[in-house]
Symmetry: C2
Subunit: 224 residues, 2 copies
């Protein structure tokens, strides 16, 4: 999921992607920790995440890293530019991917409905990335973490009566590289959110949002 993007309803049929009229490629399974593709590889297919979570990231020569997005079920990853992938993609959990031929995105490949579906995904991605810009460029550490948790909850949170539980398959370092801050600051911010009672943390990578309104307020900079 592009964590900054709009939530999809839990029962949304993101597999409503039109069936290809051509030969259907078999799903690709990728084990946790394995890579899906690398920056610079020639794009032969793009993928829709069916289950699991992937991480899209780019590296600078000196090792600095920027996580571009986390891909959750329903998301499309691997859009080409000049024929190549422009980020690394790795599986954070065991993942199942549905491949689409690159050609379907580019010229329709005889399947207009699928073509349109992929195009819309690309356009939505542009929009989602703009939210991410705002987060990277203009938000404080608190707002970043609160925004991140809010978006995650809306997208993949489970729970009822004002409590949402969210699993974090990524490390603190991944979150930091996504939000443009250090591992330590992510950790400290989560600790403060916990101490203020807005969230609870189970076993490091499960967050329970106790006070969603408070979290949303923090995300947009009210108080801090």
């Amino acid at each position: 999921m592009y964590v900054t993007s709009e939530p999809i309803a839990p029962d949304a049929d993101f597999f409503s992607a039109p069936q290809s009229t051509g030969r259907v490629l078999p799903d690709r399974r990728v084990a946790m920790g394995q890579h899906v593709f690398r920056e610079g590889d020639t794009v032969r297919q793009i993928y829709q995440v069916k289950s699991g979570v992937v991480r899209l990231a780019r590296l600078l020569e000196d090792g600095r890293r920027q996580v571009i997005a986390f891909g959750y079920p329903g998301d499309i990853v691997g859009f080409p530019s000049l024929g190549c992938y422009h980020s690394d993609c790795d599986a954070l959990t065991d993942t199942v991917l549905r491949p689409y031929r690159r050609q379907v995105l580019e010229d329709g490949g005889g399947d207009p409905a699928l073509h349109r579906f992929l195009l819309d995904a690309a356009l939505k991605e542009i929009s989602a990335m703009q939210d991410h810009f705002m987060m990277l460029g203009r938000k404080s550490a608190f707002e970043k973490v609160a925004s991140f948790l809010t978006a995650l909850c809306a997208r993949v949170g489970t729970g009822t009566d004002g409590h949402y539980t969210v699993k974090l398959p990524m490390t603190r370092g991944d979150i930091g590289d996504f939000l443009g801050m250090t591992t330590e600051t992510v950790s400290r911010t989560l600790t403060q959110l916990r101490k203020s009672g807005v969230i609870e943390i189970d076993h490091v990578n499960t967050v329970v949002v106790m006070n969603p309104e408070g979290l949303i307020a923090l995300a947009s900079g009210e108080a801090n």
Copy 2:
């Protein structure tokens, strides 16, 4: 121009966009300071910048702003998401825009070549935005400004024998909101670059790069 994107040769025929086979919309002229479209407006057409420079930006409720991109000749602006523009677009100079019907992007509108052209532009934009992520999230003030000037030079710089001149039609505030820093820090950084002899500044909004290699080194974090 997506300042982070690849330069185009000065004489590149960015108007090589295939001629529409349908009725051609007349160019749109927008005076300096006027807006082209607003976030939330329904997209009826998308534009290619023919001349001039535009600014794409988003606002937070509390007034914080993030400049998404500067649109230079050849760039496509106004990609829809869910049928609406997702940022404000304003003309920084008198600007001429070539409109394309939204439908041509979405389903081809009977013009496959133009459709493909617009799609490629969207995919390139995704790639360019990823560079921008790295800049916003992982670079220091010096690196940001140096990267910005480097990209501008490569794209629209004029000059010979190791000197490049670049006009800045945007304010320091615009640059700051593009790079995720304050007006003051942009100003201070430019002053330091000037004092170190890497650039000279004519009349506030013209920069002459005296030492392009030095600037490139600074952009990627070598020394500072």
